[in-house]
């Protein structure tokens, strides 16, 4: 319902299990025969952006049949006509200029639109692997995460889940504090420190985000962003199983973040893994619709998620 995206949020988790998963994935990546990956890709693109449209099976059927059709022969079938919105001639379509030409007061081109002019390409040489992992994560979301999160949400009221999230946010303060300092963002580091002090005391151990009431907002900072602020490019785009979209730079940053996360120092190690997994699950349960909002409205979900992730990270670096 709400049109909210947290492009790097849903799959973002910290902790020992993340490092473990990265290692497993690396192993998987080495073990998967390249031929299998090749079969999964029919990428015909010249610039690395082109890709097989990842849509539902029934869409693939239509798209495949349309592949053979001429570009101009796009008359909707009778089935499509009846199934699409009842009012084809909506007020919107009626309002279109009859000649299809656009009337603008200023004659500026698309280059003048902020956001479009600065668009940089995404390096995606691992696209076959990434698409495979995208599908894996997608199935994981619909088959495991979503049902589990629904049950969890039914049992635990939202304020409680929010408090759990606040608690973990407070605990992982060192990640944001250190990475802010390393990026030379002293004010952001100070805000994080102040937030920690206020929320730990007045917020009952971080369960309540009291600092927010004093306009001390959580700072978006991690080592991946710090590297980016140093001018290091994101490198290639990578989709990790369980964890979702990332880049080479952000993957390295994530491993570094793991060392700054106090949860990873809990002993015995099984407890650290369990706590980290719960943190991840609680976050996912709080933002259960964000991923779906993006993917379901997209005509090419893989490209949509990839570009949303990369652009979001770029925007944070430039902030």
């Amino acid at each position: 319902m709400a049109q909210c995206h947290r492009y790097d949020g849903f799959w973002a988790c910290r902790g020992r299990e993340k490092i473990l998963l990265l290692a497993i994935t690396l192993l998987l990546f080495l073990l998967i025969p390249p031929a299998l990956a090749d079969n999964l890709s029919t990428d015909k693109g010249r610039d690395g952006l082109a890709a097989v449209p990842q849509v539902s099976d029934d869409v693939k059927g239509d798209a495949a049949s349309d592949d053979t059709a001429e570009a101009g022969s796009d008359e909707p079938s009778s089935k499509e006509e009846s199934a699409t919105h009842a009012n084809d001639r909506t007020p919107t379509t009626e309002a279109l200029p009859s000649d299809g030409k656009i009337e603008t007061d200023s004659q500026e081109g698309e280059e003048e639109l902020p956001g479009l002019e600065e668009e940089k390409p995404v390096h995606d040489p691992l696209q076959p692997w990434n698409r495979l992992m995208f599908h894996f994560n997608d199935k994981l979301y619909y088959w495991v995460m979503k049902p589990a999160a629904k049950g969890y949400n039914a049992v635990l009221p939202e304020p409680v889940r929010t408090s759990v999230g606040n608690f973990f946010n407070n605990v992982t303060m060192p990640v944001r504090f250190v990475s802010s300092l390393l990026a030379g963002r002293v004010k952001a580091a100070g805000i994080e420190l102040a937030r920690f002090a206020i929320n730990t005391t007045a917020g009952l151990g971080g369960l309540f985000d009291i600092a927010k009431q004093y306009h001390l907002e959580r700072q978006e900072s991690d080592l991946g962003l710090t590297f980016g602020r140093y001018g290091i490019g994101e490198g290639i785009y990578i989709v990790w199983p369980f964890l979702g979209p990332s880049s080479l730079r952000d993957t390295v940053g994530t491993v570094g973040d793991g060392f700054l996360d106090p949860v990873n120092y809990v002993r015995p190690e099984q407890d650290a893994i369990a706590i980290g997994a719960y943190e991840y699950f609680n976050y996912a349960a709080l933002h259960i619709n964000d991923y779906e909002d993006l993917v379901k409205s997209a005509v090419e979900p893989y490209i949509a998620l990839r570009n949303a992730y990369i652009e979001h990270r770029r925007s944070l670096i430039n902030k």
């Binding site: 097989v52 798209a63 349309d66 603008t104």
Partner: protein
């Protein structure tokens, strides 16, 4: 130059000065309204979204579609957005293909909103700021405030199109939705051609109307 001519020019100058004065007085409130127009456009759009959310069950998908279609049509520069979303492929379309594409793009846009804003749990919209124009673009920031106080910032980029301030792009979490659409459309056209893109848009619209997509 004769005295009569001088007097004529003198009178003309006075008349002109008076005319300019009256015109500026008459137009000044209009100009002030025009400056506020971008914000008003978003306010109207937000109000329609809120109504669609609050009456979601009563209206159903078709009702929400009918409610939002004219508002989106009035607030968004849909034909311009549609063209920008095609990138370099825009020039390759025939007139007929372009017309078909515009129809499907607009329907897909409205259908997406109608399907996604399908319930209400106390959310609010609040206009936070308006800046610009900068290179013809005015930015209006509007917050969606959830019940738990979490805010999602929507940056609406508006431009004068056909004498009205209309949305040409929305940026959420620093991501241009238009750029996101363009990357998808160009990718699909690259791979499956124009017909493939049309097929996908129609499938999405059908999915929304049947409740498969949300």
């Amino acid at each position: 130059m004769s005295l009569t001519s001088k007097m004529t020019f003198g009178n003309l100058a006075v008349v002109c000065a008076g005319f300019v004065l009256v015109l500026s007085l008459v137009l000044s409130p209009l100009r002030s309204n025009a400056e506020q127009a971008p914000q008003e456009s978003i306010k109207t759009f937000n109000a329609a979204l809120l109504e669609a959310m609050k009456k979601a069950d009563e209206l159903g998908y078709k009702g929400r579609y009918s409610l939002l279609a004219p508002v989106i049509d009035n607030s968004f520069a849909l034909p311009l957005m549609a063209d920008l979303a095609l990138g370099r492929y825009r020039k390759t379309l025939t007139e007929e293909q372009h017309r078909t594409y515009l129809k499907n793009y607009i329907e897909w846009t409205v259908a997406t909103y109608a399907a996604r804003f399908d319930g209400y749990s106390g959310e609010q919209f609040k206009i936070v700021s308006q800046s610009g124009p900068e290179r013809g673009i005015v930015t209006v920031v509007s917050d969606l405030i959830k019940t738990d106080g979490e805010k999602v910032e929507f940056h609406y980029l508006l431009r004068q199109v056909a004498g009205k301030w209309r949305v040409v792009d929305i940026q959420i979490s620093g991501v241009s939705q238009l750029a996101l659409t363009r990357s998808q459309f160009t990718s699909v056209i690259n791979d499956a051609g124009f017909a493939g893109l049309m097929s996908m848009l129609k499938e999405k619209i059908r999915g929304f109307s049947q409740g498969k997509e949300k």
